[in-house]
């Protein structure tokens, strides 16, 4: 039986990932703010086979409280096999350009909070001698584009931190996966018109579970062909990126 904690468990991708894991009798701790939604998700996971589900209401932007939160989760589950860090917002780009306070709020929830959790969880898992940390980053962090560079920047730090940590942790029993989804049809993107490049949360969740089970560490793109798209975008000259 696996023991899994999900930070930001109401995220569409996190929920889809949890559904896959639930089939195997997994024990879950779900961390987030919206208690009603967490309760609904917990009930769903139980029907799908979860061994146990505990809801832990928590304000994840309260960075100072996170070390204790991680320790509590470790005690509750009696060790952590997989930790999924999924919280984050898709900010209003223009509002962030107009106000440094707004920008800081976004960085706190999208960047600082996950970075603290990654650090704490890595320590915890090193002392266990095993575990996998999954961090949801984004292809948007691969290059700064005028339309969404705040969101991109908030994820870019996670990508680089995670990439480095994964290498550092190699051979010490702890895996760290940086997941870079492309366009995914979730609550976060409900207002977008969907086209051929869009994937479902279920597809992304399934590929995360596959990667965790295969013991992968480092950066993965999902769906995989986004790696090619992003390679092209990373190599594209500035006059092209300006239009994106």
């Amino acid at each position: 039986m696996q023991r899994i904690v999900i930070f930001g468990a109401t995220s569409g991708i996190a929920e889809a990932t949890a559904r896959e894991f639930a089939k195997e009798g997994t024990s879950f701790v779900l961390v987030g703010r919206d208690v009603e939604a967490l309760g609904d998700i917990g009930a769903d996971l139980k029907v799908r086979g979860a061994g146990s589900v505990e809801i832990l209401p928590s304000e994840l932007s309260d960075v100072d409280a996170l070390p204790k939160l991680c320790a509590d989760v470790g005690v509750k589950l009696g060790g952590i096999d997989v930790a999924i860090i999924a919280h984050g917002v898709l900010p209003d780009q223009e509002a962030c350009e107009a106000s440094a306070d707004t920008l800081l709020d976004v960085l706190k929830i999208n960047t600082l909070s996950p970075a603290v959790l990654m650090t704490e969880l890595a320590q915890l898992m090193l002392s266990q001698g095993s575990g996998t940390i999954v961090v949801l980053s984004s292809v948007a962090g691969d290059r700064g584009r005028p339309s969404n560079y705040v969101y991109g920047a908030s994820k870019a730090l996670l990508s680089v931190l995670g990439e480095g940590m994964a290498l550092k942790l190699k051979g010490r029993g702890v895996n760290l996966l940086v997941v870079k989804p492309g366009f995914v049809d979730t609550k976060m993107t409900a207002d977008f018109r969907k086209g051929a490049l869009w994937a479902s949360a279920a597809q992304v969740g399934a590929s995360i579970v596959t990667a965790v089970k295969a013991g992968k560490s480092g950066v993965i793109y999902t769906p995989r062909w986004w790696q090619l798209i992003m390679l092209v975008i990373k190599l594209a000259p500035e006059f092209v990126v300006r239009r994106l």
Partner: protein, 443 residues
């Protein structure tokens, strides 16, 4: 409105194709928050063929995010889930524990909410009736902001109006259904070739007492002495021993799909005749015993994603009618003669008899008799005229047309087919409406 997108081709038949405003529900607890005068229609998977899942000029309440299970009792088979859960998800959850849908339509990609709103039937109608008979209860959210639990003992009139009520009585947010015990994912039975319509009715009557599932495919181009020839399939849930003895394994599903819409329908006079001939003659023996995986038996078309695209951009009409038992043989013959003479129609012609189990909904489609379902690529006015002629035969015999498949029947045809319409109208929510309802329900 927040969370709003514009969608095209929102129904399965691609006709009519009118832009729709789709607002996705975020949770089953969310209120409706309607603006005055705004007309709403619940929208599940968009698998209704015509305009019963469209609300042109109004708003579609998308339920794709209402896809959570709420409770499942593995001992009793009682399942409670949100209305946007697909039947495929229910099977995936329940089958490993020995449970299956008590009644299933020909695709598992519909939502439970949609299945209730259309009071769907399956190949076991003569044994289990419609799905509505297996719905224990549901929660209905109406435009006055009230949530009511409806069941056979609570809010019974709304229960009867909402089952088969085409989404017009409010939004079903969650429902409880009773699943059926099965011993394996397989069905065992026989596949029998028959030469004409009389032979079909003989086979059907004989199988009604011995087989839970019956259905037949018909060659809609055959005529004369072989009018109505086809292949009759009768099956029962296979026992675990039967499945094992036959070495049954779940077939590997190939990722088949129709990638793009061809510029014209691929179902036409050039392709139809050879296909039907080959399909009829593919089975050499008069009768063969078979073991089917449930996917192949119940959902053969689900194996081909976007199969509706083969009819091209003009779309297609599906036609499904039922004719009461008394006249089923003569009227079925007349219908098939009309279709055969027209040379229209398609590969996908399904014929079966419904049993006597009463449908629970005021607007439920099934009644005891013979039901015929087939596709027609839209070739212009001649297609519509043909279907009007079929309507006349059906209505004259006291039969009716299935709203889930319809995009063109007249208001009169609908009203004559559904005598409880007046009673139903009392339960229509004042802020719920559909393109179909506006077209046929008011005289």
């Amino acid at each position: 409105m927040q969370n709003e997108t514009e969608v095209r081709r929102a129904n399965w038949g691609n006709y009519p194709d009118e832009a729709q405003r789709l607002v996705s529900r975020r949770s089953r607890h969310e209120s409706l928050a309607i603006e005055p005068g705004e007309m709403l229609l619940p929208y599940g998977a968009g698998r209704s063929y015509g305009d019963s899942c469209l609300n042109t000029g109004g708003v579609l309440l998308g339920t794709s995010a209402l896809d959570r299970f709420i409770a499942f009792d593995r001992d009793t088979g009682l399942l409670t889930c949100e209305a946007g859960v697909a039947l495929a998800s229910i099977i995936e959850l329940a089958l490993p524990h020995g449970w299956f849908l008590p009644v299933t339509p020909g695709t598992k990609f519909v939502t439970l909410g949609g299945a209730i709103a259309n009071d769907v039937h399956g190949k076991n109608h003569h044994v289990e009736g419609t799905l509505g008979r297996h719905v224990v209860s549901f929660e209905l959210l109406t435009s006055d902001g009230v949530r009511r639990v409806c069941s056979a003992s609570e809010n019974t009139d709304l229960f009867a109006a909402t089952i088969g009520g085409l989404g017009l009585t409010g939004l079903v947010t969650s429902a409880t259904i009773r699943l059926k015990r099965v011993a394996s994912p397989f069905l065992s039975g026989v596949s029998t070739k028959f030469d004409n319509l009389d032979a079909f009715f003989e086979l059907s009557a004989a199988a009604a007492g011995t087989h839970e599932y019956t259905v037949s495919w018909i060659d809609c181009l055959s005529s004369g002495a072989s009018l109505g020839r086809g292949i009759f399939m009768a099956a029962n849930q296979a026992s675990a021993e039967e499945a094992e003895a036959a070495g049954a394994k779940a077939p590997r599903s190939l990722p088949l799909f129709v990638p793009i819409m061809p510029p014209v329908s691929m179902v036409n006079q050039l392709t139809l005749k050879p296909f039907n001939w080959a399909y009829y003659h593919r089975q050499r023996a008069q009768q063969v015993t078979r073991l089917w995986h449930y996917n192949g038996f119940h959902y053969p078309l689900d194996a081909i994603a976007h199969w509706n695209r083969i009819y091209g951009p003009k779309g297609f009409l599906q036609y499904q009618c039922v004719v009461p038992t008394a006249d089923q043989e003569t009227v079925s013959r007349a219908l098939l003669e009309e279709i055969s003479r027209s040379g229209q129609g398609s590969f996908l012609v399904v014929f079966k008899t419904f049993g006597a189990k009463a449908s629970p909904g005021l607007l439920s489609f099934p009644m005891e008799g013979a039901t015929l379902a087939l596709d027609f690529p839209i070739r212009g006015p001649s297609t519509f005229a043909l279907l009007d002629r079929l309507d006349a035969l059906v209505v004259e015999a006291g039969g009716r047309i299935y709203p889930a498949k319809d995009a063109r029947m007249s208001g009169e045809t609908f009203r004559r087919g559904y005598p409880k319409l007046e009673e139903f109208m009392k339960f229509v929510d004042p802020q719920f409406s559909s393109s179909f309802g506006r077209r046929v329900m008011r005289g």
